[in-house]
């Protein structure tokens, strides 16, 4: 009894005093979280409960990050098929019983309400990495077909919810693992060709509001008060920011609520309006650094599973930034992808930080001799 308590205290102490973290990445994430809270404080018009809720998520995410960073990749790897199966099953449950505004995304577990699709953001690259790590690489058509199936089933379930943004992110994570496994360029070419051919089919299965979003993205001025409103107001917010921005909490577009969803999906526009191009360059540089650092960690990982998983997580982080940035500047359609660690709400901050926990674990266990045994 005493022994167990002492070991637990020791483990906790070690967790705090000697975390096996990559310091540059940790500092970059801390900085990003700070910038995120600062921007959110302005976007939420100094509403305390919003800031407290977001900070709470960050703390929860940081604890998960620290906890996961202690779990050796080998352990993760052995759990991978189970985690994947469970999260996919939860998607099916959500499809049947879920709740949410207009979309079946949420699962209500009494105290905890969460989106199972968030789990897939982690378990998807884990599963693909798990599968490919035991196949001869670069993969052939047969293995690619299996990977395709592993990606397609959960992605389709998420897209059917409908949540195109998350489906995109989940699928991207899987695809990146495949890409990093050394898939030959001609196969990539064939896949891209097939994808282009599948677009009309996808269009056929899209919800009307998703089609509208794509159409208004192509012609935002055609419906300036309807769905085009988001894009137009976001571009006005960004463009009126100029080089140096209007200053913190001075953005008229967000403060006067011309910019919809200005604490969540469109918070990047608030940032661009208030901190200007200089701020945007610095923020994108910070993201680029985080992605680069994560790829560096993955490249130095011990085994193929860790490499593929870490690399896929790093690159899907890029997808967040790119899709969100493209959306608020009107070069990509409006899909619900948050700006990582800046957008308010959802479980994305928690799941993202958990992902970084995995990367920290990969970093901590990069040596061939695994200290954790």
């Amino acid at each position: 009894m005493n022994d167990t308590a002492a070991r637990l205290r020791h483990a906790l102490l070690r967790l705090i005093v000697r975390p096996r973290l990559d310091l540059p990445l940790a500092l970059a994430l801390l900085l990003l979280a700070g910038v995120g809270l600062l921007t959110l404080t302005s976007a939420a018009d100094l509403e305390v409960h919003v800031i407290v809720a977001q900070a709470t998520r960050f703390v929860l995410g940081a604890l998960l990050l620290l906890a996961v960073s202690r779990v050796p990749p080998v352990r993760l790897r052995s759990l991978t098929p189970w985690l994947y199966a469970i999260s996919t099953l939860l998607l099916v449950v959500v499809a049947v019983l879920g709740e949410g505004r207009g979309a079946h995304r949420w699962l209500n577990l009494g105290l905890l309400r969460f989106q199972p699709s968030e789990l897939l953001k982690l378990t998807m690259p884990m599963m693909v990495a798990w599968f490919l790590a035991q196949r001869p690489l670069p993969p052939r058509w047969r293995d690619m077909a299996v990977v395709g199936l592993l990606i397609a089933v959960p992605a389709a379930l998420i897209a059917w919810q409908p949540d195109l943004g998350t489906a995109l992110l989940v699928a991207a994570a899987g695809v990146f693992a495949l890409f990093l496994s050394g898939l030959s360029w001609w196969r990539i070419g064939v896949l891209l060709g097939a994808l282009a051919g599948a677009l009309p089919v996808a269009w056929h299965y899209m919800h009307q509001y998703q089609r509208d979003r794509v159409l208004t993205f192509l012609h935002p001025e055609s419906d300036p008060l309807g769905t085009g409103w988001h894009i137009i107001q976001s571009e006005i917010a960004v463009g009126s920011g100029g080089w140096f921005g209007k200053g913190w909490h001075q953005g008229t577009q967000s403060r006067l609520e011309f910019l919809p969803e200005h604490t969540t999906d469109f918070i990047f526009a608030v940032f661009a309006e208030e901190f200007g191009l200089i701020g945007v360059i610095l923020l994108v540089a910070l993201y680029a650094f985080i992605i680069g650092r994560c790829l560096w960690i993955a490249a130095n990982a011990r085994d193929t599973y860790s490499r593929l998983l870490g690399g896929a997580l790093a690159m899907s982080f890029f997808v967040y930034v790119m899709v969100n940035g493209g959306m608020i500047t009107g070069i990509l359609p409006v899909v619900g992808v948050p700006l990582p660690l800046v957008s308010y709400g959802g479980t994305s901050a928690v799941s993202l930080l958990t992902g970084f926990g995995v990367l920290m674990s990969i970093h901590a266990h990069r040596k061939l001799i695994d200290s954790a045994g």
Partner: protein, 628 residues
């Protein structure tokens, strides 16, 4: 766990991963650079345009209409002011279903068909984002009822405004006129910037004449609004410049006294200060309440005013046309003296009938059998027709018309009010031009007693009288006395009315005529004798009784009652006082009056009494008899 280590090459996989990872990172950096390029495009290249659009989003320009200038009488009695009121306004683009909204709204706040018609008219002219007034002058009850139901009517709001108000009601309707909604043709000629936010404009009277002074300059507010168009703060405010306050030469007490003296009988009265042309009273009975027109008069009210047989909308002082009758005799007498046709001592024998050589038709005196030989003073005092028949004949119609023209007959007096009638001063030239008929000598004869084609407006007659009283100096009548650029600011006197130099050549001649006119009031046989009793100053006057219908028989109808005479006569009276130094000249026309002296003169006396009271003189009667 399924493992196939034989087929795997960890070193090569690692190398391949590194290559892929860095290729991927290069692509990522490329994509992020592309994203930044887009930011540069929006934030640097198109920055200005987006700044403009951001401001267009949040900043609304709200015009602040200027408060209309107030109008006072010469003593500072308020004649027109602005009172706070509330109206309903609709922003069309924020109303999803206009028809059903109006139907539901009508159950909360009554909307008349006129309201709806005006609203739809303006709706068709304006941009959908511009607010259109729907109902003016809401009652407190209506405001409260709407406030409770406001949530049902997006785009409809209660808006405060300043409503024109005429505290004296119908007493000054024919002087002030009224303001009304700017109509389409006015909209087209108005400076849109100066009238931004203004709904009303002077439609008649002083309100129209001095629109330019009364209407100030609008101000504006730049208001920051949020996405719901809710105003959050004022960024910039330029206050409106109120219109100028006007002081009229009218004296409300004279106006009131005169109006009361009419006791509702249709007619008009004008009082002028002969020394400068200032109009002291301008009365037209019956009148109407100008407040009815301010918020848009209802069809029923308007129809009632239009169909009233006494024509309350007609400004009789300005546009009522009446044969001047005997009131022109003093001017004619003066012409006889000035033209050297008569001396004051020349006499004419009045036998009751006057015949042109070789004609059967007789021209009568008012008294059967005539009054015998009379000189000029008696002729005026007793209004002896024969004296003036002869004088008119001796003068000839051309000289008569030219002479009378110098007193302003036959053309507008030039008062500062719109739409003044010019009357008719007949002459052979006039008759040829308008009736294409030759002039007959008999028409010259009756011109001598102010009958025939000759018609004047009461204002015109008052102007002529003032010219006579001021010895031939014709001051154009003026209502505007002074203006003021705001409460408490100094009163700036209005430019005096233009006046031609006197055309009098012999002052004693004029005094002779005035003697005759004093006799009218004070002489034993004066046609208005007794009128001056108890009045502190000598009054010079002249009666006039004009016939509304030409007589069908030459018989004297002495048995007719005054009521019957009143039906066929118009009673006129003109007078000024003090006779030797006139300060006020008054003309009264009563549409149904038996005789000028008995019916119209007492009204003039009431006005003079009010005037005398104002000068601090004791009320009638006086102990010492008035001189002259």
């Amino acid at each position: 766990m399924l493992r196939r280590p034989a087929l795997k090459d960890p070193r090569r996989e690692h190398a391949r991963f590194r290559a892929r990872a860095w290729t991927g990172y290069a692509l990522i950096l490329l994509a992020l650079t592309g994203l930044l390029t887009r930011f540069v495009w929006l934030q640097v290249v198109q920055h200005q345009e987006f700044v403009t659009r951001a401001n267009a989003n949040r900043i609304r320009l709200v015009y602040l209409p200027p408060p209309r200038g107030l109008i006072y009488d010469r003593n500072g009695v308020l004649l027109a002011d602005n009172i706070p009121a509330y109206r309903l306004e609709v922003v069309p683009e924020r109303v999803p279903h206009m028809q059903s909204m109006l139907q539901q709204l009508a159950q909360v706040v009554p909307l008349s068909t006129e309201d709806l018609r005006r609203f739809h008219d303006e709706l068709a002219q304006q941009h959908p984002f511009q607010s259109v007034p729907l109902r003016m002058k809401l009652s407190e009850d209506e405001i409260a009822r709407f406030a409770v139901n406001q949530w049902r009517f997006p785009g409809v709001a209660v808006v405060p405004y300043l409503m024109r108000n005429y505290p004296q009601g119908k007493l000054f309707a024919h002087v002030l006129g009224y303001v009304g909604r700017i109509d389409e043709s006015e909209q087209a000629r108005l400076d849109p910037e100066r009238y931004a936010g203004t709904l009303q404009i002077g439609k008649s009277g002083i309100e129209r004449q001095y629109e330019d002074l009364l209407h100030g300059k609008p101000g504006y507010e730049l208001v920051e609004v949020n996405v719901d168009q809710r105003p959050l703060r004022v960024l910039e405010r330029v206050p409106p410049t109120p219109g100028r306050n006007l002081y009229l030469s009218i004296d409300a007490r004279l106006q009131q006294a005169g109006e009361e003296a009419f006791a509702g009988r249709p007619g008009a009265a004008v009082a002028i200060d002969p020394r400068n042309g200032q109009v002291l009273a301008l009365i037209s009975v019956p009148s109407y309440d100008p407040n009815l027109f301010v918020s848009g008069i209802s069809d029923a009210d308007y129809r009632a005013l239009l169909t009233d047989p006494d024509k309350p909308l007609l400004n009789r002082a300005l546009r009522g046309l009446y044969p001047p009758g005997s009131t022109i005799k003093p001017y004619l007498a003066l012409g006889g003296l000035e033209l050297g046709l008569r001396t004051p001592q020349d006499t004419v024998d009045s036998t009751g009938e006057f015949y042109l050589p070789g004609q059967k038709r007789g021209y009568r005196d008012d008294q059967r059998g005539g009054v015998g030989r009379v000189a000029m003073v008696q002729a005026i005092e007793q209004s002896v027709n024969t004296y003036f028949y002869r004088l008119a004949l001796d003068m000839g119609i051309d000289r008569l018309a030219a002479w009378m023209g110098r007193f302003g007959f036959g053309r507008p007096s030039g008062i500062d009010l719109p739409a003044e009638a010019s009357g008719v001063l007949p002459s052979p030239a006039w008759k040829r031009a308008t009736l294409h008929q030759p002039w007959y000598l008999g028409e010259t004869v009756i011109a001598g007693i102010g009958q025939g084609y000759w018609v004047v407006t009461p204002l015109q007659l008052a102007h002529a009288l003032a010219t006579l009283a001021d010895h031939g100096v014709a001051h154009a009548p003026r209502l505007l006395l002074a203006e003021q650029s705001g409460m408490g600011a100094p009163r700036v006197p209005a430019a005096p009315a233009p006046a031609a130099p006197s055309f009098a050549t012999s002052v004693p001649d004029w005094d002779t005529v005035v003697q005759g006119m004093i006799g009218v009031v004070n002489g034993d046989k004066g046609t208005a004798r007794g009128l001056g009793v108890g009045f502190p100053y000598p009054i010079a006057g002249k009666t006039g009784t004009a016939e509304r219908y030409s007589r069908t028989t030459s018989a004297y109808d002495t048995h007719l009652t005054n009521e019957q005479l009143a039906e066929r006569h118009r009673a006129l009276f003109e007078c000024f006082t003090p006779a030797e130094d006139p300060h006020i000249a008054v003309v009264v026309v009563l549409e149904h009056g038996a005789w000028g002296g008995s019916a119209a003169a007492p009204i003039a006396r009431k006005i003079l009494d009010a005037w005398a009271r104002e000068r601090g003189l004791p009320d009638t009667p006086l102990t010492e008899a008035p001189p002259g």
